[in-house]
Symmetry: C2
Subunit: 211 residues, 2 copies
Amino acid sequence: MNTIKGEQLLAQVNWRYATSKFDPSRKISPEDWAVVEEALILSASSNGLQPWTFVSSLIKKRAKDFFLRPGTNARFWIARIFVVFTAKTKITSEDIDRHVARTAELRGGTVEALKQFRNAVADDLVTGTRAAEAHEWAARQAYIALGNFLTSAALLGVDTWPMERFKPDEYDQILELPAKRLTSVVCCAAGYRSADDKKAGQKKCVLAGMT
Amino acid sequence: MNTIKGEQLLAQVNWRYATSKFDPSRKISPEDWAVVEEALILSASSNGLQPWTFVSSLIKKRAKDFFLRPGTNARFWIARIFVVFTAKTKITSEDIDRHVARTAELRGGTVEALKQFRNAVADDLVTGTRAAEAHEWAARQAYIALGNFLTSAALLGVDTWPMERFKPDEYDQILELPAKRLTSVVCCAAGYRSADDKKAGQKKCVLAGMT
């Protein structure tokens, strides 16, 4: 346990905002980015199934395809780090078997001992009533990861700009996702706010507290 | 800015797990819970629209309805704190106008100056192609909040148990959500792990890193 103080948490979640202008002269250090990446891949998901992938360095390699197209928001390019959150288009028995095998391997049990869990999950997401909505279920899990990512980055002083409105089909083609039964659901740029970003420091418009 | 060290973040996201047994003798202090609540209501959402509510204290008042029904998982009751994440069933012009009015009020601008933003959002979620999927969009936003909640709680040393498989209709009726155009999408118990929870400390089965 290495907990933080409440005021630290609140300072950083208040500091976070959807950055509208990144500073092109500042780059996230490899050390800080490694921490944010590690926190991201440890995101919670229903039954631990992680029906997602997070694509970043591949985008860097293919920067031209992504960032230099007409109409592309320059923020992506300036931020330098850009993550596409992808989610499974459907869940198969193989997905669950892979998770169960990995669990048994890492935790020192047997696949047999996990059979009840395996069948319950398969009966739900592969053949059950939720099978038809399995992509939507997977997309929601990816949004848990996004929520964790935004908070994790803010705690390290890294700014983010999440974005939903892009062309997923185009991204899917560039990233060769269809063959992997994945589709892009949300993106996020990461970097550091520009000193003259007018959106920084604006009051938070909270609409509803807890009831 | 009051950032934390990378090792602190990683220690706590690694410490987090879906708690299967809570300690009935330990209660979250009002101070800690106030911080977690505050962090939760500051969750990011698309265009800041916050198409959600988080219900907790109301559940406490109606504990009998929730926790003492046959078949209810005792974890809810033992954890003592239980949050239902709800999402709008559809988005109306009034929702957007309310957000715009609040923004103008808090940030000292005029509603008129936000008209372009207002219309773009309404054209998308109220009358546009995404209007039919607006509930699903809202549910995804609630999952961003869940991701933030799980990480925020872990940073304060608070354990959580998120849960998707419950009866939303039943919850909606008890919480009188239909009249508010809301429906429950996911729940989460919060408390402290029991010293003998066998799931604590198990290795994380990460399936995929960043690509």
